[in-house]
């Protein structure tokens, strides 16, 4: 019987000594949807995924994958999962076919069905013509594709991808995102972690924003954006230290939040500020006026419509990539 809930976590905790990597994470994902975990490095995304993949045992709480408990039915959970690790995990001295054949056996495939499935996966990942070549001769993109292909061998109910686009070129990234959409359209549930809000926005049915081991927001893209209402985000670069100016801006009508980042390299000052406002057209002249009055020159301005980055900033006071 097909379980409607592909993922259900219940108050998950994971502690490593004094470090609280995951703190009370509760999530749900329906079968056939794409759920993204969005958050900066250290947010607890990979730890959460490791618990779901039965690599780590939760300190407290439990998670159900296709109705099976990660605590008590790890083999059933593993059979339902295909995991694509963040780093490429292949036997590079073996061929693509030998890799797929070996990993297929680890998922319990044998004989003719295994060979057929290997052929199918090679076709899907576009490596049929390179199947006998040693993987260490492959390009980074080809390795990425094979890395994903391995997780598809046993046609898993749930595909977990841990930041699969980190450090790759735009073309390969595009191919991976398109492949994930195709797999999802074929009925596969996908759990996707990323710190790129564009990817989460493009792929996901639901997004869980994580920070410091907690889910700080959960919903569809539209639902999340509504958290910050119709606020616009204005990014400004300044020529001088902004302490007084920030106070002035914070006091300006229509301004909701002001954050600043100051770096100083070889006597060159780099000050960048982010201001969340109701209406950029109305507020922006006031911001320039305050800056002029305090003798601070604004060297660049960028205005953004509300998005997940704005949401994260609104919720944490930090950017996703800070």
């Amino acid at each position: 019987m097909k379980n409607d809930l592909a993922i259900k976590t219940q108050d998950l905790y994971k502690e490593f000594g004094d470090i609280h990597a995951v703190q009370g994470v509760s999530l749900e994902a329906q079968s056939g949807e794409i759920l993204s975990l969005l958050g900066p490095n250290g947010a607890g995304k990979s730890t959460t995924i490791s618990i779901l993949a039965c690599l780590l045992e939760p300190t407290r709480g439990d998670a159900l994958i296709m109705g099976h408990s990660v605590r008590y039915e790890p083999m059933a959970v593993k059979s339902a999962l295909g995991v694509v690790p963040q780093e490429i995990a292949l036997y590079e001295d073996l061929s693509a076919r030998a890799n797929l054949r070996f990993w297929g056996k680890m998922y319990g495939l044998r004989g003719a069905p295994l060979e057929r499935r290997v052929d199918q996966v090679l076709e899907v990942i576009g490596l049929s013509d390179r199947q006998t070549g040693a993987v260490n001769k492959f390009s980074g993109g080809m390795k990425r594709r094979l890395n994903i292909g391995i997780a598809l061998l046993h046609k898993p109910d749930l595909l977990i991808l841990d930041e699969p686009t980190v450090g790759i070129d735009p073309q390969t990234r595009r191919n991976i995102l398109d492949s994930i959409k195709e797999l999802n359209q074929s009925g596969m549930t996908v759990l996707y972690t990323t710190h790129y809000m564009e990817e989460a926005q493009e792929l996901s049915d639901h997004i869980a924003i994580m920070d410091l081991g907690k889910v700080i927001a959960y919903g569809t893209h539209e639902e999340l954006v509504k958290i910050v209402g119709e606020m616009h985000r204005i990014d400004l670069s300044l020529s001088a230290r902004p302490e007084e100016l920030l106070q002035a801006w914070q006091a300006t009508e229509g301004v909701h939040q002001v954050t600043a980042n100051v770096t100083e390299e070889e006597a060159a000052l780099d000050v960048s500020c982010t201001v969340l406002v109701d209406d950029s057209n109305r507020v922006l002249p006031c911001l320039f006026e305050s800056a002029g009055a305090l003798g601070v020159r604004v060297t660049s301005v960028q205005i953004q419509e509300p998005n997940l980055e704005t949401v994260f900033l609104h919720l944490t006071g930090r950017g996703l990539r800070d």
Binding site: M75, L81, A89, W103, K105, M106, Y107, G108
Partner: protein, 428 residues
């Protein structure tokens, strides 16, 4: 089944790995091969071993007495005993013979004095055989000296035979006839002479060994060749143990390598039990070492002619070596945090341990080595492994080998159990 899949995958990768082929098979054979060729390619008692030609100049002033010529007999022994090793020529006088040695035309000169036969046959007779040798040479003159001693011993035996005959005849109350006594001495001397060129090993077994001191330089130099074969066997055994322990550790290290490369965590995400994953990797270590040791034993036997001993005993020692080296590899790898630490352990600790274990090989030819030094090798597992091969090569009793094998197996089981527990805890 998955356990075997993992083991086969690891074995396949190992056999494709140039490092294993070089360090696991090539280097031990190469090291033994260097010694093999350094010793003139002599690995067994059956192969040819070239001793340098020794030129001997003999001045024979002796004359026959009673139909027996001791000087001539000795010349015959010199000429026929070691053809190709001794080249015997005669000189007219002692001065000429010595001159030949002085000008390095001969390695040694022998003077058989006049009246040598008469003195040999007489109960109270005395005669002196003189040797004059090139002081820069040792081997050739040593062989000649040994042969002279042996011949003189034989003549002494002849004299003893005559004395015994004299006493026995006197004891019967009969006055001994000098011709009878001389006949006994001649009979004995003829028998000694007849031994020249025959199988002296057999004769030595049936007679007084002191008479046949020639044995160390028997025909074809088999004794010397046997010594070389023994040294070569010891070196091969030491090299085998040294490198097999490295292979054991390096193969077990693949667990850490897979952990670093991410394939081990990925394996843990598949529906495969931890026991099958670790068991597969351990099985690969055992299998690889078995292949390595069997190949080294076979190849060294075929190429260098090393006789390792009775097949069953060899199989037993191979099995215990594989168990010990594999288990040691698994144990020591379980102590490491990551692959980076393995460089220090393998490059330093294991090399030192290997050297300590090979003390028995280094001191094999030094009889004066204190027993405590030899025993020191047994503080490391490699020492027990070397000892088991040495016992096998020395033809030690099975019971003695079994004790060593038992120690190796028990140590192996303890190390294996400890290593497995540590890995299980680590990946729980």
């Amino acid at each position: 089944m998955k356990l075997l899949d993992i083991a086969f995958k690891d074995l396949y990768r190992s056999f494709r790995n140039a490092m294993f082929l070089v360090f696991g098979l090539l280097l031990p054979l190469l090291t033994a091969g260097l010694f093999y060729f350094a010793f003139g390619g002599s690995g067994s008692g059956d192969s040819e071993f070239e001793l340098p030609l020794t030129r001997v100049v003999v001045v024979n002033l002796d004359r026959p007495s009673g139909g027996f010529a001791a000087g001539e007999s000795f010349l015959g022994i010199l000429r026929e005993s070691i053809p190709g090793v001794l080249q015997v020529t005669e000189a007219r006088d002692w001065a000429t013979a010595r001159q030949a040695v002085d000008h390095q035309r001969a390695a040694v000169a022998v003077l058989i004095p006049a009246g040598f036969t008469t003195a040999a046959l007489s109960p109270d007779g005395e005669s002196v055989l003189e040797l004059y040798q090139d002081p820069t040479l040792t081997l050739g003159p040593g062989i000649v000296r040994t042969m002279v001693n042996g011949f003189v011993d034989g003549l002494s035996g002849s004299r003893i035979a005559a004395s015994t005959a004299y006493e026995q005849i006197s004891a019967q109350g009969v006055v001994p006839d000098p011709r009878q006594i001389e006949a006994v001495a001649l009979q004995y001397a003829a028998w000694v002479t007849s031994l020249a060129g025959t199988d002296l090993d057999q004769a030595a077994q049936s007679l007084n060994p002191s008479l046949f001191d020639l044995e160390p330089a028997t025909a074809d130099g088999q004794q010397s060749s046997g010594t070389v074969a023994s040294i070569l066997s010891q070196i091969m055994a030491g090299m085998m143990v040294f490198f097999v322990f490295f292979t054991g550790a390096a193969t077990a290290q693949s667990i850490l390598q897979e952990e670093a490369e991410g394939t081990l965590p990925r394996l843990f995400t598949t529906p495969t039990s931890h026991a099958a994953i670790l068991g597969g990797k351990f099985a690969a270590t055992f299998a690889l070492l078995t292949v390595q040791v069997v190949m080294l034993v076979l190849v060294s036997s075929l190429v260098f002619g090393i006789n390792w001993g009775p097949p069953r005993a060899v199989a037993l020692v191979i099995a215990s070596l594989v168990v010990l080296a594999s288990s040691f590899g698994i144990f020591i790898t379980s102590l490491l945090k990551d692959v980076r630490q393995s460089g220090i352990i393998y490059g330093g600790v294991m090399t030192v341990m290997g050297m300590i274990g090979m003390i028995g090989v280094f001191t094999a030819g030094a009889a004066s080595t204190p027993a405590a030094v030899r025993q020191a090798a047994l503080i490391v597992p490699q020492g027990w492994a070397v000892r088991s091969w040495q016992l096998l090569l020395d033809g030690a009793p099975v019971a003695q080998i079994l004790v060593t094998v038992a120690v190796m197996l028990v140590a192996g089981i303890v190390l294996f159990a400890t290593g497995v527990l540590r890995f299980q805890k680590r990946y729980a």
